[in-house]
Amino acid sequence: MKKLLFSVCMAVLALGFAVQSGVAADDKYPSKQINWYIHSSAGGGTDIFSRTAALRLRRILKVPIVISTMSGGSGARMLNHMMEQPADGYTIVSLTNSNLATMARGRTTAQREDIIGIARGCYDPQSLVIKADGKHKDIQGILAAAKEKPGSIKIGVAHMASIDHVASYALGKAAGVEFEFVPFDGGGEIIVALLGDVIDMGVLNPSEFMGQYEAGKVKPAVFLVADRLEGFPDTPTAKELGYDVEMATWRGVGVKAGTPPEVVKILRDAFQESMSHKIYQNYLADNSMGPESVLTGEEWDAFLDQKWPIWKETMDELGYVEK
């Protein structure tokens, strides 16, 4: 009896492995599971973006799409992994500012030319936010104070060598002032510090400060965009003030360079369709982002091309490139 049981178990085991390993791949794309890697942790902004975009994508492409976090070195591990995979469109990676920073710092084998942009899904303008009833009334006041006493203006950024750091550094450079950067772990911590008078100003996205803004506790002093935002007609833009600084938090996806053009096209179209759907558009609206966030195809590649040199230069200037 026991022997019988034993052999039955072993048979089940052998059968299981045989079935699992015997899956053959089809020629037409997509014919098997697509692995979508993100570089940040579960529950973060990039994770939520990816999961929302993937909702309709699964129906459109009719294959399983598995989103996995592959954290490590701000995207370094994820990009290295991508470089090791075949360029067949079955490996998608998330692309954000921090990935560009990682590439610019030389911490991964991948460079800009190794990636083809598929689609952008989020575009959240950066702004410098001050307390509504604080010492400083507007951006001119802050810049004047910083000019008068260099280092006296403390500005909260989420991590160093990040988009926040680079954005505020770029504005300071354009205005000829030096800020004191205070690194935090994220937007929430920056708001707390701002409300608690620990810092004078914070670099935040509308989605991060809307709650406190509506309650009249904080206000954006300047947006780092070209044109005034619809929701904030009274807030000046950096361009208006004469500083050519345009910075935003954006999130998108890409594949390894060398992926066949027809596969790239299928993916781009699928993403366009998925992100035009009501579910995705609602997600954008709820996070105070406009429909113009969605950008696919060549335009998105061009956008990356435009941002890449900025990162490369600034990282070098700030001394963050690892030689």
């Binding site: 999961r51 911490r107 403390k154 911590e189 309650a215």
Partner: protein, 505 residues
């Protein structure tokens, strides 16, 4: 407000919403009890499903999962010495010895009751005082966090093995491990030895699973199969009314500590449970029983970590500032349903907010029922012989650690910590101080250096801000308390002798 609560109650009683609470708690308990799978991960998995749901069941389900997972962590911690969630690490100290003595049912029951009571307390605080307490979160700047973290770290001297020096050294090593990887103040990497995996640092969940769970498996290997005597009669007995009554001061203390720590955005259940446990030990009449299977220790830790759930919801809802990974996801879900957490949330979306609070209240009652009912069932796991159970535990450790970040490096860290954790016991080192040092290390470093930036390298800032000073004083008192206690006792004896001498005259 009463009618809003009543309305919320009616909403939760609708079958779909009630089902959401039930499923959330059940899912949370399962995720919580599996080491490596954490509440934020569970919530992130649920998010896509909540898009199509109504706001109330969607948010309630996530919140219930949070509560359920916080309790669920204690199940594996008590039964197999594997803290299912980081916050359950302190539960292993007394929970596991109790289970070894055949009192798993009691430990689980106590964990369940104290978790629920702590959770309920924090929900009541959340309902009554959320907007007021939210200001507390704002008052806590970098110097306050530094002082609080130092206070937390001062516990390592009494936690773990008998040798104070070894405990302190273990804690320091823990703090050092937290330094590995990217330095978030300067943005440069430290001690990564060119390994990409180490650039993000050593996350403490693999270390904790290794030191606690994997090391225990190796300890079981010593016994092997032959020497195991079947003395594991599991009394499925639940704690008696007297036992619950005897820990009531501990429960009150832990609830307050947990809620307070929970409100602070940078801290959560893990630190709350350690502090709750240590304070219970400090105030106990029999501190020497802690660590050998004191029901009070289980109650203190579990009550504190569950009351952190309600606390963490305070800044999330009232300020729009998430205090933990889980509340960050819940905040995302609120946004998805068109509600912007912040000072106006309570005015604009009163109906949903109170329904969610009532839902959270029910979630705590729900796992109280499920936990007490299940305590006997769960403790049956111990009937499975060690030689069958132990390999499964190690398998779960490996799979769970991998699932954390889809990273084999975490698995290697876990296994190395398992080997180290097994070996270091021989040298008189305990796991608890290392884990605590690792948990607090980053906070200590960042808050210290951030304070120095903000206050222009003025180190006196820790003594001039009231909250910071409070914690510094508490730390000093805590470190000196054994000395003070013995001094008071000696004085007392002296007085007695004096009196005796006087009366003889």
């Amino acid at each position: 407000m009463l009618d809003q609560l009543l309305l919320g109650f009616m909403t939760i009683m609708e079958p779909m919403n009630f089902l959401a609470v039930f499923l959330g708690v059940l899912g949370g308990m399962i995720i919580g009890s599996l080491p490596g799978l954490t509440a934020p991960m569970g919530c992130a998995l649920l998010i896509p499903f909540t898009y199509t749901m109504q706001p109330v069941p969607a948010i309630t389900m996530l919140v219930s999962l949070y509560c359920g997972a916080m309790f669920g962590g204690s199940i594996a911690a008590i039964l197999v010495h594997a803290p299912g969630t980081p916050a359950a690490a302190a539960t292993t100290f007394d929970g596991y010895p109790l289970a070894q003595k055949g009192q798993a049912g009691k430990a689980l029951g106590m964990a369940c009751i104290s978790s629920a009571l702590g959770g309920l307390f924090s929900v009541v605080v959340l309902i009554l005082l959320a907007p007021v307490l939210a200001d507390l979160a704002i008052k806590f700047g970098p110097p306050e966090y530094f002082a609080l973290a130092i206070f937390g770290l001062s516990m390592i001297s009494s936690l773990g093995s008998k040798s104070v020096v070894k405990n302190l050294l273990g804690g320091t090593i823990g703090v050092f491990i937290a330094c590995i990887g990217m330095d978030s103040i300067s943005g440069f990497s430290r001690y990564d030895f060119g390994i990409t995996h180490l650039m993000d640092g050593v996350s403490f969940i693999p270390v904790m699973i290794g030191l606690f769970a994997a090391a225990e498996v190796f300890r079981q290997a010593e016994k092997g199969v032959r020497k195991i005597v079947i003395d594991r009669k599991i009394s499925g007995l639940l704690p008696t009314w007297e036992e619950i009554k005897s820990v009531k001061t501990t429960l009150i203390r832990s609830s307050l500590i947990g809620t307070f720590i929970g409100i602070l955005p940078a801290e959560g259940g893990t630190v709350a449970s350690f502090i709750g446990y240590n304070e219970a030990k400090r105030f106990s009449k029999e501190p020497e029983k802690f660590g050998t299977g004191a029901l009070e220790g289980v109650a203190a830790a579990e009550c504190a970590n569950n009351s952190a759930t309600g606390g963490a919801m305070v800044p999330t809802m009232a300020l729009g500032i998430p205090g933990s990974g889980t509340t960050a996801v819940i905040l995302g879900a609120l946004l998805v349903h068109g509600m912007r957490p912040g000072p106006l949330l309570f005015i604009q979306h009163t109906d949903v907010v109170y329904a969610v609070f009532i839902g959270m209240f029910f979630a705590n009652l729900m796992f109280l029922g499920l936990g007490l009912g299940g305590a006997k069932v769960f403790s049956q796991i111990l009937r499975v012989p060690t030689y069958v159970l132990s390999p499964i535990i190690l398998v779960l450790c490996v799979v769970g650690t991998y699932a954390l970040h889809n990273n084999m490096a975490d698995v290697w860290i876990m296994l190395i910590c398992g080997l180290v954790g097994y070996k270091m016991k021989e040298y008189g080192f305990a796991a608890a101080p290392i884990v605590l040092g690792l948990v607090l290390g980053e906070l200590i470093e960042i808050s210290l250096r951030r304070s120095l930036i903000v206050f222009d390298n003025n180190a006196f800032i820790f003594f001039t801000r009231p909250w910071a000073l409070t914690f510094i004083v508490l730390t000093v008192l805590g470190l000196c308390s054994p000395a003070i206690r013995s001094w008071v006792e000696r004085r007392g004896e002296k007085n007695k002798k004096q009196q005796a001498a006087d009366s003889q005259e």
